[in-house]
Point group: C2
Chain length 258, copies 2
């Protein structure tokens, strides 16, 4: 039955080819992950990624794997290839701490100045889930603030903030363009912030958010939802923050036993 | 100068229209964020999102805003519209704790059984950055494990793990398909895990990772890099984990003072 034999041989060849492709793709991704870590932690201090041949030797990878790995990082927007120069680091991701409750300007202080474009700032009736979480009567006004936050002139995040109105009104004249809401909340209440419940997700940017953040449509965003309480437990700040995935990382330390 | 006046008037009209569009888009995103929270926290227990009219009343939003918000959630793959039924919740995101160092099966125990497809498991020479972080000599073999992890039969994450070979060899006969690496590490070393340094990022899935995870190309992934140490401080497990953004959230509690 030559047909069946041919079929079988053909199928076998396809499987071997598919397995090889898969192995190559796996290796490229694995190498890209290692290079990503180097990029994020400043492992290439002059901003230039070593030549493909050197990477091949250092990482025991074939030239094809090195190229595929660099292609992955280029698609992510972390590196670019410049004729006559080689592969250069083009994106910088800033580390946001996960160990302590801090505002953006506080946590990124050493990396530059955070500026805020206040897009909206007005009282509005709290939708039921907002009212419940901020412990205000349903339909009571809360202060809504929407800010586009930038570092070094480039958008970092789009933040929507809900604050109970008794505290919020005291923020109306404040310098929100240059000051973290956290710092202002502590100033106007005369109390420290205590803790926050946070939830992190990765989402694709919708067209409008992408445009505001100057990112491609569908760009991966790190989305942070955070309900912050004063030290006495009162919830005072509900935020929905969309970070550009190519500009921020969140780092922290976890322990096995609490 | 009628031309200039016309230009100016035209520009003014455009600006007003653009501002209206922007406001509508802002409101839709704000509503989508509130509905997302309800979806993620089981706020619609029967899996059906209330009718547009009810949402409009509850959230004081226009019908257009409600529709746009539901469209955003549909594009994200969280809800779908079923003829004759309405809008139903189709995606479920599982909460992964950020407060304690736990394996996936441990943290998701109440949500179902985590199964692992072991794609690769073999010793390989450690690239320099891996050797350095695992504190083994450069070029020494480490155990590489790549697993596709699923919950309820659907892919959750693609995990690449590097383990020093003296510990790794003891994992070679273990039941990796049904057991967390964390649990196995504690079993074979007879010691507890201590702490881990973690970094979280949002990245777009490359074509190959997307295919493996059965997600659309470019889908937002929550990427976790984690270096785990035994309780005596020895680093024993370097992992690169790509979670499907539509299937996982990370939740924790941050404090203002440490």
């Amino acid at each position: 039955m030559p047909d069946r034999i041919r079929d079988h041989a053909g199928h076998g060849a396809t499987t071997v080819a598919a397995r090889r492709r898969r192995l190559r793709a796996d290796r490229a991704r694995q190498l890209a992950d290692l290079l990503r870590h180097q990029i994020l932690t400043g492992g290439f201090p002059d901003g230039t990624v070593p030549h493909e041949t050197i990477l091949g030797t250092d990482y025991r990878a074939s030239r094809n794997t090195v190229r595929q790995a660099l292609d992955l990082l280029r698609t992510e927007g972390l590196v670019d290839r410049l004729p006559g120069v080689g592969t250069v680091v083009v994106a910088r991701k800033y580390p946001h701490g996960l160990d302590r409750l801090m505002g953006l300007a506080e946590t990124l202080r050493e990396h530059g100045r955070v500026t805020n474009e206040v897009r909206t700032m007005a009282p509005a009736p709290a939708p039921a889930p907002v009212a419940e979480r901020l412990q205000v009567p349903p339909g009571a006004d809360v202060l809504c603030i929407e800010r586009l936050r930038s570092l070094g002139g480039l958008p970092l995040s789009l933040d929507l903030t809900y604050i109970p109105l008794d505290i919020g009104t005291r923020l109306l004249g404040a310098d929100l363009e240059n000051t973290d809401v956290f710092r202002l909340l502590e100033a106007v209440t005369g109390r420290s912030l205590g803790h926050a419940e946070i939830t992190l997700e990765a989402v694709n940017a919708d067209a409008h958010s992408a445009a505001v953040l100057q990112a491609p449509r569908g760009a991966a965003l790190l989305m942070l939802e955070r309900l912050t309480h004063l030290v006495d437990g009162r919830p005072v700040d509900l935020e929905f923050i969309r970070f550009r995935g190519d500009r921020i990382t969140m780092s922290g330390l976890l322990r096995r036993s609490l």
